[in-house]
């Protein structure tokens, strides 16, 4: 449906203070293939190139090199100098600031793509289509309200209605939830996904918020410094991160440096600072290689039923923070400090000696 091939983007050097400095490329050989009807998320920290990618798809920014194809139609190609301008790409887009035009009413905002956009909607159908779109987002009673008299959540719905009304082939969502307060964000997350899924449009969603990415997407592309770090389903990204960056960016993690001392079948043994751990093998692991072993704080068991099982170590609780839903503890094991989340109904105290277990299946060997 949507193909990005070897996108490269370097912004021209900014004049002024850093004059002459060669800027880091915003995108390096970035390729993706997004399927019809998919809810696809570009996830990454700020400056990772996710917004550049989205802007390139929208045609608001042009890659230095590469090719973008939408449903078989090349909309950008540096080799043949093809650029289809933004207004000819048949897109729907929700901007980070919503970009609701303050001098128009809700109705006028939503009608804009029909009146000025592609497809040439006959005047008689405009009203019906706009009201249909507003109905979808639950704002049909607000049609005649001037746009500035809307709350943040309502503005967001108007932006959604506007991007849906002309039945675009691809919907682009640029951090649409980042300007909402926490409670509303939780509610909108579910609503947004249901709405987009019910329309069935291919959706590209940009966010730096891992919760949004994990809970909403069919697939996630994790970006770092303009490169694709990892591509996969939310489950894959969270449970089997490939790299230290992926492990640290998505969720909390303990990453322990070590060296592989033995590989046998599906298991390998890694020598850590405080002892040996057994881990499942993912990807290519070689004997003697320096690796990181990642285990999530809530994966670690405290005082397991079998104190002498695999990957069990003696430790001391150094610090406890009561978070409410869980206890956030620092446990010293050997010279290292492990972060462990435990059920907050358990009672622990600082200085207590405990046994910690890093369950074999929950340990992940990271590449670099």
């Amino acid at each position: 449906m949507l193909e990005l091939e070897n996108l490269n983007k370097t912004y021209p050097p900014t004049s002024g203070r850093a004059q002459g400095a060669v800027p880091e490329p915003a995108l390096t050989d970035f390729s993706l293939n997004i399927k019809e009807g998919e809810f696809f998320t570009l996830l990454g920290p700020s400056g990772c190139g996710k917004t550049t990618t989205l802007q390139s798809i929208a045609g608001l920014e042009h890659p230095t090199r590469g090719r973008i194809t939408m449903a078989g139609r090349t909309v950008f190609c540096s080799a043949t100098n093809t650029i289809v301008p933004s207004n000819k790409r048949k897109l729907g887009m929700v901007f980070q600031s919503y970009a609701i035009w303050p001098h128009m009413t809700v109705f006028e905002n939503v009608a804009f793509p029909l009146v000025h956009g592609h497809g040439g909607c006959p005047r008689s159908e405009v009203r019906q289509k706009v009201m249909g779109a507003l109905e979808r987002v639950g704002l049909h009673d607000f049609a005649d309200r001037p746009a500035p008299y809307l709350s943040g959540g309502q503005q967001q719905r108007v932006a959604l209605a506007r991007s849906l009304v002309n039945e675009p082939s691809i919907m682009l969502l640029d951090e649409p939830l980042s300007n909402l307060d926490a409670k509303l964000r939780d509610a909108m997350r579910v609503e947004l996904r249901d709405l987009v899924k019910s329309v069935g449009t291919t959706t590209i969603y940009v966010t730096h918020d891992q919760t949004e990415a994990l809970s909403m997407s069919d697939r996630i592309a994790l970006l770092n410094k303009g490169r694709l770090e990892q591509l996969g389903t939310p489950d894959q990204i969270y449970n089997t991160p490939r790299t230290t960056f992926a492990a640290e960016f998505v969720g909390s993690s303990n990453i322990l440096k070590g060296r592989v001392v033995d590989v046998s079948g599906q298991r390998c043994t890694v020598q850590l600072a405080f002892g040996m751990v057994t881990c499942p093998v993912t990807g290519s692991v070689e004997k003697g290689q320096t690796v990181g072993v990642m285990v999530r704080p809530h994966g670690i068991a405290i005082n397991p039923a079998e104190p002498n099982g695999a990957n069990c170590f003696a430790g001391t609780i150094r610090q406890i923070s009561f978070i409410g839903e869980f206890l956030d503890m620092q446990v010293a094991v050997g010279g290292e400090s492990l972060r462990v989340f435990v059920n907050s109904y358990k009672t622990h105290r600082t200085g207590e000696d405990v046994t910690v277990q890093l369950p074999v299946d929950l340990c992940v060997v990271l590449q670099g």
Binding site: W101, H116, G117, L172
Partner: protein, 592 residues
């Protein structure tokens, strides 16, 4: 970094991608080159022509004019006079304006809205009209002040006179207060009051905070306002013409006018062009100084985007003196207009008395509306004002959008060229425009003045539109592109409506300045393109003082009747938007 090849490839891509914007930018660039750059090139060429020759008639290049200009014994006096005049007026103007602006913005002075409206409306009063009023008030012969003082103290001769450098400085200084007020009030309004609160929380007294926090923070801003006004005053032409020539205090701008409009010999355009080149250099140097200062004041920027309410200091016992000071200023500003109003009802100029009161007549107004050449001047003025203001604003919005939003070189070039005219003194531009269009059918029509005004005011237009556009989130425009709208649709449906208050204010400014300007109308004058301002000058020098007074009153009232309502409308439009956008703040909006 991209190599030149891929950069030219990038250019190609852009041409194919956004053909409309690129075509428009190229057209605008060509237009600006013709409007701004071509006259200057010709001016420079003329200065290198043999004395007395026009550049079309010769292919000789000589430095003869520069030699004679530099050997001119009066050149040092001219430059000294110009600098003295500019420095004096700026000191008075900024001093008075700062006091009033501080009272209005930072204290509990009453009638703030009235003061702001009056300051803005003052734009409608042309400086020539003010000068005529002052001449009637203070001329050494039968000026009202002199007659009054002689009668009161039994004196003889001219007690005071407007015909002196000092009087000219004082009058101009007071006349630029409204302009300075607008700029300084903006500075004061945008200052974060927390910086001052921090000072007083940590133990400084009221005056201590003013001295150690407020003033140092304002100095860079005030300095840049001062230099900007200094630049404008170096270039000023109207008051030095009306008062300065009689006072025998010539400045560079009036000297150039005399050279180009000599009564005794035919105009020496090449020497004029040479003086113009010198003048241009002086203005360019000042421009560089200005940019330095602005860059410095950027570092001190304490303007945050947040809307806040600056703390208002209670005046207490100073309330009455403060009101008195502001009232006296407005009274002084009203006097020249009042005396013109009085004279416009008199058959000949006379000091107000019971006897003169009996001679009141409407004959002067009948004269104004009865004479075909004055009617034509009024019609010309309306054409001039409407077209130059509208053309300037339409071009400005497009140029500003391209230079703010497009990252290409075209945008940069447009920005720089549209800003150039700020450094060109009006007299120099007038000479340059005259030289280039002298042989075209445009010469002698009102359209040549329209053209000159568009050139002169495009810098102001693009600068204000640039600033206004920066406050608009670019996503609002991108949203319309993604929705399928083209560039012109975006401008028409998004940018114009959003910028409307700013566009209206800019339009008013240009319209006001276009109507009051006498530089271009006088330099480019023929019998067929006289406008109200130049007609006023002609009547005054004839002299037909009462008819001139009547025309002045009509001009001022006409301008006021446009400026005040449009300004009020724009202000309401803007405050309405602000109120609404505050209502849309999620924190303040009603819960869903």
């Amino acid at each position: 970094m991209r190599n030149p090849e891929s950069q030219s490839a990038g250019m190609l891509q852009r041409i194919r991608a956004v053909p409309v914007v690129t075509i428009v930018s190229i057209l605008l660039l060509a237009l600006l080159l013709v409007l701004v750059v071509a006259p200057l090139v010709l001016l420079f060429r003329t200065s290198l022509a043999p004395p007395g020759e026009l550049p079309f008639n010769t292919d000789v290049y000589t430095l003869e004019n520069y030699r004679s200009a530099l050997n001119n014994a009066r050149l040092p006096t001219l430059i000294a006079n110009t600098l003295k005049y500019a420095a004096g007026t700026v000191c008075i103007g900024v001093g008075v304006a700062f006091t009033i602006a501080w009272l209005v913005e930072r204290t509990d002075l009453p009638f703030k809205a009235l003061i702001r409206t009056m300051m803005f409306s003052w734009m409608a009063v042309p400086p020539v009209v003010m000068a005529f009023g002052w001449i009637l008030l203070g001329n050494p012969g039968n000026g009202i002040f002199n007659v009054l003082l002689r009668w009161l103290f039994d004196l003889r001769g001219a007690v005071i006179t407007v015909y002196s450098m000092k009087a000219m400085i004082l009058i101009t200084g007071l006349a630029i207060v409204p302009t300075a007020f607008t700029m300084i009030a903006g500075l004061l309004r945008n200052m974060d009051p927390h910086l001052e609160s921090a000072g007083s929380v940590h133990g400084a007294s009221g005056f201590g905070v003013f001295r150690t926090v407020t003033l140092p923070l304002l100095v860079p801003g005030l300095l840049s306002v001062g230099i900007l006004l200094f630049m404008a005053m170096v270039q000023a032409f109207d008051l030095p013409l009306v008062i300065g020539l009689t006072a025998r205090a010539p400045v560079l701008s009036t000297q150039i006018f005399l050279l180009a409009n000599s009564d005794i010999s035919r105009p020496d355009y090449s020497l004029t062009a040479t003086f113009g080149t010198f003048f241009l250099l002086l203005a360019a140097v000042l421009m560089l100084v200005y940019f330095r200062t602005v860059r410095m004041s950027e570092r001190f920027r304490v303007v945050s985007g947040k809307a806040f309410r600056p703390s208002k200091r209670p005046l207490g016992g100073w309330r009455l003196p403060a009101i008195g000071f502001v009232s006296v200023y407005f009274l002084i500003m009203m006097l020249p207009f009042l005396v013109l109003l009085w004279t416009s009802f008199q058959p000949f100029y006379a000091v107000p008395s019971a006897e003169a009161f009996g001679r009141m007549t409407l004959q002067n107004y009948a004269d104004v509306f009865g004479q075909s050449f004055i009617i034509r001047a009024l019609v010309n003025t309306i054409i001039l004002v409407l077209f130059s203001a509208t053309i300037v604003m339409v071009l400005s919005v497009m140029i500003a959008w391209i230079s703010v939003r497009s990252k290409g070189r075209l945008g940069k070039a447009l920005e720089v060229i549209s800003f150039l005219p700020i450094a060109i003194p009006p007299v120099v531009l007038a000479i340059a425009v005259l030289l280039i269009y002298l042989r075209t059918p445009l010469y002698g029509t009102v359209w040549i003045i329209v053209l000159a005004h568009v050139t002169a005011y495009i810098a102001f237009g693009t600068r204000t539109m640039n600033a206004a556009l920066l406050q608009i989130h670019s996503e609002l425009e991108n949203a319309s592109f993604v929705c399928g709208a083209g560039w012109f649709t975006m401008l028409r449906r998004i940018i114009f409506p959003l910028l409307l208050p700013h566009i209206l204010n800019g339009w008013l400014w240009v319209a006001g300045h276009s109507a009051r300007d006498i530089t271009f109308p006088l330099f480019l004058i023929t019998s067929s393109n006289v406008v109200a301002a130049s007609q006023l000058y002609l009547l005054w020098t004839t002299p037909e003082i009462p008819t001139a007074s009547a025309l002045a009153v009509i001009l001022v009232l006409g301008l006021l009747s446009v400026v005040v309502p449009v300004q009020l409308y724009a202000a309401r439009l803007e405050s309405g938007r602000h109120r609404k956008s505050r209502a849309s703040d999620p924190a303040l909006a009603p819960a869903e």
